[in-house]
Amino acid sequence: MSIFEYNGSALVAMVGKNCFAIASDRRLGVQLQTVATDFRRIYRIHDKVYIGLSGLATDAQTLYQRLVFRHKLYQLREERDMKPETFASLVSSILYEKRFGPYFCQPVIAGLGDDDQPFICTMDCLGAKELAKDFVVSGSASESLYGACESMYKPDMEPEELFENISQALLASVDRDCLSGWGGHVFLVTPSEVQERTLKGRMD
């Protein structure tokens, strides 16, 4: 079994009209045994940039701490927050630094740019960026997420519809994956506010 599926995870980000949503499952497992049911894989970098880290949870946490370190120094030197595109490049370069002993994580990055244009991207554990205009997925449930998002995504959704669709896609997908589930966390980010919602699904 792949180390990427050791803890189990499901991550998805979707864009709407001047907004985006990023969602994850809540399970932390060790192979088939569930260890925690309120685990967080999505981290806030600043008000308009979020990163989800699927894969090995210990690497995800360390990687997040390194990203906070680098982003904080950037904030202090530049006296502003990082743009999502810049942040994605930072994540990419930090991952590639460990080319021959990588963090076993597949990140999903989502943010709102200067003109409130949503930005989403994912990358592999070596930092190869994959940009998308509609949605990105990662984690052990990624295969079923691709299918669910493919059929549920519509361009230019308003925040509420976006929330509904990403939640349905997530819940449908984790039910088809043994290693992820136990509800979900959804972050819905619009230019004016950020909403965090917790989903209940099949809690078993």
Partner: protein, 251 residues
């Protein structure tokens, strides 16, 4: 002019002095001054900017005050290029600590680590010392609000009110006279402005020569570092009565 024990920082003179370090302190005596005052509910930093030419582009952000971490800031007097190096290391140190321990760095620990760097340059290898004095202000959960002063030798000490830069001795003695325990932040600002206006070389205190920053706790318990805007400064100056509007009109 003495020469024999001057050229190296690492050699004591027969009287037991390190000339290069003393010269570095001399250099700071000519720099724009900064004053820090510890209040009951925060720390206040005030600095005097030296306006060298009106053609010079004034930076949008602060020149003398630097945020080091969310809970820490410093005011600088001395050679700015030297200061930039130290501020950079301080910021990295603070983040390294947070990375390792997942909590903000204690104020004194940061001051100490920076002063270790400064001290190193007075002892090792033919370099010159950093020509910078700092006023550090910050808050941590163990000791609350704190104010520290450091000099080029790498000495540091905690203060209730302190001054660095030009005329720091005059400022220091004024602070000694006028400082009272349980000073609020607003009163501390007034005191700092008063002292600065009296010890500054130029006659009138205006907002473009001044910088004011405060560290305090928000109701949420988070530490806030706030820099006063030029407009806010102008208002403050008028309110505190430091800046007499009835002064003779400028030619």
């Amino acid at each position: 002019m003495s020469r024999r024990y001057d050229s190296r920082t690492t050699i004591f003179s027969p009287e037991g002095r390190l000339y290069q370090v003393e010269y570095a302190m001399e250099a700071i005596g000519n720099a724009g001054s900064a004053i820090g005052i510890l209040a009951t509910d925060g720390v206040v930093l005030v600095g005097e900017k030296k306006v060298t030419s009106k053609l010079l582009q004034t930076s949008k952000s602060t020149e003398k005050m630097y945020k080091i971490d969310d809970h820490l800031a410093c005011a600088v007097a001395g050679i700015m290029s030297d200061a930039n190096i130290l501020i950079n290391t301080a910021r990295v140190q603070a983040q390294r600590y947070t990375f390792a321990y997942q909590e903000p760095m204690p104020v004194e620990q940061l001051v100490q680590s920076l002063c270790d760097t400064k001290q190193g340059y007075t002892q090792f290898g033919g370099l010159r010392p950093f020509g910078v004095s700092f006023l550090f202000s910050g808050w941590d959960s163990n000791f609350g609000f704190q104010l520290y002063m450091s000099d080029p030798s790498g000495n540091y000490s905690g203060w209730k009110a302190a001054a660095i830069g030009a005329n720091n001795q005059a400022a220091q003695s004024m602070l000694k006279q006028d400082y009272t325990e349980d000073l609020g932040r607003e009163e501390a600002v007034n005191l700092a402005l008063k002292v600065l206006s009296k010890t500054m070389d130029s006659t009138s205190l205006t907002s473009d020569k001044l910088e004011l920053a405060e560290i305090f706790l928000l109701p949420s318990g988070k530490v806030k570092y706030q820099v006063c805007s030029p407009e806010g400064l102008t208002k403050l100056l008028l309110k505190s009565g430091v800046n007499q509007p009835a002064a003779e009109p400028s030619a």
